[in-house]
Amino acid sequence: MAPSPKKKKKEKVFNDRDRKIFRKRISKGEAVFGVCFVAFTVLMGVWFALQRDNYDPGERDVSDRVLEAQSVEDKLYRTPLLRWTDPSVAHAGGVAAPDFGVFPAAAFAPGWAPSAPPQTFDDKTLYEKIDGQEVQYKAYGFKSLSFLAIAITGGSEEINIELYDMGEFQNALGIFSVQRGADRNVEANGDVFSYMTDAGGIGMVDKYYFKLTGNDSSEAILAQSRHFIQNFPANIQKSGGAPYAFSLLVGKLGYAFQDVEYVKEDAFSYSFCNDFWFARSKTVEEMRVFIHQQDGPENATALFQKIVDEQLNEFSEVSRDGNSIVLKHEFLNTFFGLAQSGAFLYGVEGAPDDATLAGAMKPVKEMLDAEAAPAAGTKPAAEAKPEA
């Protein structure tokens, strides 16, 4: 038996009307709802399109204060976690030894430990650490930077340790000279040349240039800095040591370490004058003695002539004696002396008069003439006995 129309309508789930396709009119309410629904959907779509990637999750963060206010105390029992230890690190009493990277553990006083893993930067990544200053290091043959941040246990003191491998002794000395104040006294402690700052220390040993920078001027920071300077050099990998020119100036001619400067490029502002050593005179202001070693006497002669030719643009010749020449600046009236001894060029710049110039050049000449110039150009660093 067919169901009555009334019963059929009741079987409808949402309404008792006929399907729209069969209806001849649609109610006003349905029409209004339909329009509103379409408009809402369109608006939502427009909003999504406008938002694009402007969404800032931070703007919709629940604030810490609200989270804190609504939080409940967590009383769940948790199994105590054992500290993870790196299996590759040597263990002592079940506790992993701190990872100091390339730095020997002996360089750190008890109570100091790394606050972050050590980092290493090469010439391609150096800017990531010292953006803007990397060019200065690269000009002195930078090889790598090892960085370590250490902190004292239970305190707020921190020290950043930057260890620059400059490849050679003279490069380390070069960057040390450039960054050090001209009047800063340098202490010699074995192979280490350094000075203390208010919050750490700066210095060099062999091919390494280091900076210890504390976050405060505290005694604990200074003590650790001194400890590092005394104990760090024991285990480092050394290069060929100090060049002969440095040994001559500091060890034999008696110039103080802080008065010696290595200019890797563009000495006298000439692009062809590289690898020059300068030492400031103790007695005459602005006067400097310089030494340069060439590959052989022929090259030294060629460089001698090139320098003289260039200098004659601003200087006038005072005297010439074989491999030696004295020039006088046309405006400043200072004297410039240049001489050759085998593969070496040496001289004096900024002398106030001829006699002072001769007096400053004489000991250099005697040393170079007396000694047979070493072919390799380097002597062991032990020969350098600087005047502190």
Partner: protein, 368 residues
């Protein structure tokens, strides 16, 4: 009820017959669509209309550059100074009290119109300090956190609804913000720190810029921002001689920005037209005199006694270079000259002056 009694189709439905001509028309249309799709899909990449992407370049995202608004505000009528300078003395122990720093900061801004002229109720303000390095503030390589905290409070008191503090250091940003104490100072002052992440950058179009006409920019903190204040230290810079107010904006660049070191003066001068801040504040209380920008020796830091504020970043930097960094006027960094020229030729230059010559445009006050 049986199935037969419930028709699936409408009783009035009449099947439409298809004519032969219609049939062929539809077949032709379908074949045409299939041919076009087949050509687009399988034709070699260099053929016109081909969608074949053998190199992957076709699907490479194309970034639509945006332009940053001009945040400058014309100084009040009757105020002649474009640069305000406030000097103050230290306490017996050589430090500044926070009250003294606040007085100096207020006084410097007052010389160019006062903070309430530049910050309005409901403004969202972005402060850009220099947080370039993972260094403690005593080294002078980063902005002074105490002054930053004072500045944030001052801006909030002037009616700002939100103060954001942002920078994009190349070193680890969280470490830099922590060690420089900028994060602590920001939160203490009531501001909000924005650290960069990979989604924070957008391609910025800077008309007239030589090196960064289209370049990645730390965009996220600038969303809905009304005013922008630069806050930087004065320090020596190994490449461009001095890093002051203008160089500070370098920290908003993304991408491989280290390549710009090859042409440092052009990039710094580009920054002057990249962003036109509401105010530039330069701190001359801890001045890294040599070995910048990183420093490392506290003795290289001069204890200065001045805070500067200005609407003309070029004049401000010129004054600071000569009077704070104590360099010869004849050795002014080239980027200042370039900035002056680029601003002068910019269609967006507006009324505010960007000139190296600060004579008659600096007002200096001495506080007790």
């Amino acid at each position: 009820m049986s199935k037969k009694e419930k028709p699936i189709q409408h009783p009035e439905y009449v099947k439409a017959p298809m004519e032969r001509r219609q049939f062929f028309g539809k077949i032709a249309a379908a074949a045409g669509i299939a041919s076009v799709a087949g050509y687009a899909s399988f034709a070699p990449g260099n053929w016109p209309g081909s969608l074949k992407d053998e190199t992957g370049l076709l699907s490479k995202p194309r970034h639509k550059p945006f332009q940053i608004p001009d945040f400058r505000v014309q100084k009040p009528t009757g105020v002649f100074a474009d640069v305000g300078v406030a000097r103050g003395s230290r306490q017996a122990d050589g430090t500044y009290s926070s009250e003294q720093l606040a007085r100096m900061l207020t006084a410097s801004i007052d010389q160019v119109g006062g903070i309430k002229h530049y910050i309005k109720n409901g403004d969202i303000v972005l402060i850009k300090p220099n947080v370039a390095f993972d260094r403690s503030p005593n080294l002078g390589a980063t902005s002074n956190p105490e002054i930053l905290e004072t500045l944030i409070r001052m801006v909030l008191e002037a009616g700002a609804q939100e103060v954001r503090v942002a920078d994009n250091p190349i070193e680890s940003p969280p470490d830099c913000f922590k060690k420089s104490k900028i994060e602590y100072a920001t939160l203490k002052g009531g501001g909000r720190v924005y650290l960069p992440d990979s989604n924070s950058f957008k391609m910025l179009h800077t008309p007239g810029a030589r090196l960064i006409e289209n370049w990645w920019f730390f965009h996220r903190p600038f969303l809905n921002v009304d005013k922008v204040i630069g806050f930087s230290p004065v320090k020596d810079h190994n490449l461009c001689h001095a890093s002051m107010g203008m160089k500070n904006w370098y920290g908003l660049l993304g991408g491989t920005r280290n390549q710009f070191h090859q042409d440092i003066h052009n990039i710094v001068s580009d920054l002057s037209i990249m962003i036109r801040p509401t105010l530039t504040i330069v701190d001359g209380t801890n001045v890294l005199m040599i070995n910048g920008p990183t420093g490392g020796d506290p003795s290289n830091v001069k204890k200065g006694d001045v805070i500067m504020a200005g609407t003309d970043p070029v004049a401000l930097d010129s004054w600071a270079f000569e009077h704070v960094l104590e360099r010869d006027k004849n050795d002014m960094p080239t980027y200042l000259t370039l900035a002056q020229e680029k601003h002068a030729s910019s269609p967006l230059k507006g009324e505010i002056r960007y000139e190296m010559n600060y004579e008659g445009r600096v007002k200096e006050v001495q506080l007790g």
